[in-house]
Amino acid sequence: MFDLIVVGGGHAGCEAAHIAGVLGLNTLLVTANSKNIADMPCNPSIGGTAKGIIVREIDALGGIMGKVADRTHFQIKMLNNGKGPAVRSLRAQADKVTYPKVMRDYLDNTLNLTIMEGMVEDLIVKDNKVEGVILSNQKKIYSASVILTTGTYLKANILIGSENTLGGPHGEERSNYLSDNLKKLGLDIQRLKTGTPPRIKKDSIDFSQMEEETGDDCYYTFSFDNPPFYKIDEQQKCYLLYTNDLTHKIIRENLDKSAMYGGYVTGIGPRYCPSIEDKIVRFKDKERHQLFLEPESVYYDEWYLQGFSTSMPRDIQEELVHSLKGLDKAVITKYAYAIEYDALNPLEMKVSLENKKIENLFTAGQINGTSGYEEAAGQGLMAGINAHHKLKGLEPLVLRRDEAYIGVLIDDLVTKGTKEPYRMLTSRAEYRLILRHDNADLRLREIGYQHGTIDEERYLKLKKKREEISEVKNILRNQYLKLNQEVKDFLISKNIEIPSFSTNLYMFLKRPEINMDIIKMFVSLDYSDEVLEEVEIDVKYEGYIAKVYKEAEKAKRLEEKLIPSDINYDDVANLANEARGKLKDVRPISIGQASRISGVNPADIAILSVYLRKKYDK
């Protein structure tokens, strides 16, 4: 008997199984095909806006996605470098061959973790408590808890034009019965849709017709624990190209042949990741749309045509691809497809990711209605930690919205639910100024340490970093800018306004035109770049950061007003009907969470607060 069975070896399953093993749970990872562990069926990249920060958070909490990405990417970029520290985020082109391999190595070296192949088709549930899984060969495996990370495999259909194939990505076998069985257990099932673009054979592409997209010329890592493993000048290039009139014409003329517009799809697709036919239909006035060509791996010659996801039939796809500049002779190695799959209603889970109806059953990733490797991995990590905590009788780890993007992600899911695959965006995070790429370790490592996922050594490293940050700030506060002729000349040469009175370096750094490199001309600072970067951001944006902390503090007070789990919303007089229904569905844990439910308005919150005060404060 296992402590935990993780069903599915995708990005959520890998993090869940790994962290559970680290925490000492006797864990079994069941996957339909062990060759597909940590497979990347869609884009060949890890990170992106907001998502890159999730990867940093996973790393700060003891997860492995960032470490694997660091070892397997062939291009990396810092996005939004010029738009401010809060929205900077890493994006790496990860190799589709090596990424799964390295991930497998990590899992093989994880203590307490067993991996086996099998198709889970049912759960063993007794008295609303999960006790194990049943495989397609009727074999039963018992465990104290289960995490479902089945991705898009529940009753998956692949759609290309009017052609409809039962199966998961790469024509893999799908799970035929699990979602029906979950439905029988009383869970709410919804149908979602996503898609992927065509892949093109490398030597059929005329790159000279496209613009180059190169990696950054400095070193970055996702992980706080390892150095970069790549060489700047060995990074691979990606390419930028555009759709044109002909492309649009072909789409318009063949719209009814696409699975989406021909009415062959029932699932709801994401707005932020529209198919090319969606883009043409919805943005009629746009003359061209951007596309990117990205290598999938250095070990084979398929390229990914980002931005060109479609559910058109194959012959139209050929026409479409050939209409693009530089792709007129392109050979399509894999056609684009839409995929429909069953997912659960995230409103049916608690903030710990445990199911509300079935005890000790956790879910993470696309089964919860999200999209993206990073979103999946973040949930997997939290599900693994909380499955462990549940079994050990500990309080679940719940990250607040002002602590992590992962907190925002889970709070949104369990509070608002989702009707389309949910992708993380920086604009979803109201406190994004303090949820930065650079400070993920400062935000979360200590929490990881307290919850047993970060070891002593890494915790001490964090403490040292914190001390150094405050040391540097003190140095800057105590060091005054000496305005002698030499300094004045230097400032003039740099076109910097000379301060009218002597100022300390801390205040001097606040000036817009001053950065740490200039400060270092006046004082020797023998500290790491990470420490100096942190100080620079803290000092330069001190006012803004303080404002955000104040807002967060205010919100925290609402989060701390807990709603007893046995509350009967029918007893709360005067709630609007819609609000009462929503509150019953979501069963928020705090007034703060309740206030974020759509359809619950301020008046309802006030009524609820008054009710709680009356009933429970006496």
Binding site: K83, G84, A86, Q290, S427
Partner: protein, 447 residues
């Protein structure tokens, strides 16, 4: 379930009839117990019934009772209104009997709070009701009504829409940086958009000043040495116009001596003692109070005596009011002139009406009252709203300032978002915990 509350919902002492309002689940049953007439528990909703309030066999008053059943009532609860015409003491007696029968005396603003909590009103509307309760003049009543219809909300919605359009563009740039063909909001194209928002907010604020005058009136302090005729001037003004009863809750009640309506705007006269240098302790307290009144007043009317020579006390007062909006009224021009003064003054006396009319004309001119009384009335007026609009404006100004610095766009977005949130608070679209408590503590009882 909400308990049942009661309160006198008309201003005490105004009019012949007082209304006592009872709201809550037991409202009908409990009033029925005291009512001699039809059985109120069996009557239809929204009907009025004649009868008597009887307590321990004694007829307390002859009354009309309205029965209003939930949810189509002000509080969305059952409401009973008792129309009594027995004067203050009888009304109070009925209230006492209700309380003795287990109906709780309502807290300040509790009816409106219930109306708001029960989803009957949004925040702007709730504030408008507060104004309505306090409305003394027709113009104020109109302003309050306009607001109830949500015109202010619409204006603010409009500004919020402009902001959210800009914000979402910035957000798209941030979340989808690789899409270079989406218009990028940059430091070059941001300022005109921010300035547009700034202009909208400023015009809203400009209008709100008018709103404040309409709603709060103009505080006028009549000052001068003892016996120059301050009281007679005030009395003449009050006598000539229909004086408004002052017994209305308000922070300045204790010093407001009388109110006069001028072009629909309320002039509130602040009581001041005669001002002169004195060693008398009691008199000194009065003088200090008058100096304070000078500070707080929107308008100072300094009264001088035509029949006396300008002395040091007068000169000191003239110096004191120099930087405030003021009018010098030289009284007693029916007596021989002894006063020499090099100022723009109004001559008059309290016997002839001409001088007083000149005084009123001057006030109308000083505050542009003609224009105010003809203004469109779609204005914000409460201190909370004005404060929030100012905060929003400050945020936008800070964004404009920061565009010119090297601050990155995501910081500037924080300012813009802040403006959006503050405006949302006005219409109740953003929720702040403390907001409700602050808001409702300033409501008076009743509608």
């Amino acid at each position: 379930m909400n308990d049942t509350i009661c309160a006198i919902s008309t201003a005490l002492g105004v009019g012949a009839i007082s209304i006592i309002r009872v709201s809550g689940e037991d409202a009908i049953r409990k009033v029925a117990l005291l009512f001699d007439g039809k059985n109120l528990e069996e009557v239809k909703s929204h009907t009025i019934h004649y009868g008597h309030i009887v307590y321990h066999g004694e007829v307390i008053d002859e009354v009309l009772v309205s029965v209003l059943k939930a949810p189509k009532t002000y509080t969305k609860e059952d409401i009973v209104e008792i129309n009594s015409h027995g004067g203050i003491s009888t009304t109070k007696k009925i209230l006492e009997i209700l309380v003795e029968n287990g109906i709780r005396l309502a807290d300040r603003g509790e009816f409106t709070k219930r109306a708001f909590l029960n989803g009957r009103l949004d925040l702007t509307e709730a504030e408008a009701v507060d104004s309505l309760i306090k409305a003394h003049t027709d113009l104020e009543r109109k302003l309050a009504l306009t607001k109830l219809e949500g015109k202010v909300s619409k204006k603010i919605h409009h500004i919020r829409e402009i902001i959210v359009l800009l914000l979402s563009n910035i957000e798209v740039n941030i979340d989808y940086p690789e899409y270079e063909d989406i218009l990028e909001i940059t430091k070059e194209n941001l300022p005109p958009r921010l300035n547009e928002i700034k202009d909208e907010l400023e015009s809203l604020l400009e209008e709100s000043k008018v709103g404040k005058i309409i709603q709060n009136g103009i505080n006028v302090a009549i000052i001068g040495k003892p016996n120059v005729g301050k009281s007679s001037i005030l009395n003449a003004l009050l006598k000539e116009n229909k004086a408004i009863v002052t017994d209305i809750a308000g922070t300045t009640r204790d010093i407001v001596e009388g109110m006069v309506e001028l072009k629909g705007i309320l002039l509130k006269f602040i009581d001041t003692a005669g001002i002169r240098k004195t060693d008398d302790i009691v008199e000194k307290i009065g003088v200090d109070k008058s100096f304070k009144a000078i500070d707080e007043a929107d308008l100072i009317v300094l009264v001088l005596n035509n029949h006396e020579v300008l002395d040091d006390n007068d000169k000191e007062l003239l110096a004191k009011i120099r930087n405030k909006t003021h009018i010098v009224f030289v009284n007693k021009n029916d007596l021989p002139k002894k006063l020499e003064i090099d100022e723009d003054v109004i001559y008059g006396n309290t016997i002839d009406i001409d001088g007083l009319d000149s005084l009123k004309d001057k006030i109308i001119k000083l505050f542009d009252l003609e224009k105010i009384s003809n203004s469109s009335l779609e204005v914000v007026s409460s201190a909370r709203e004005i404060g929030l609009i100012k905060e929003a404006l400050n945020s936008i100004c800070s964004a404009i300032k920061n565009v010119n610095s090297t601050l990155p766009i995501d910081m500037i977005a924080i300012d813009i978002k802040n403006a959006w949130d503050r405006l949302g608070e006005i219409t109740g679209e953003a929720y702040e915990d403390e907001l409700l408590d602050n808001l409702f503590s300033k409501f008076c009882v009743g509608k």
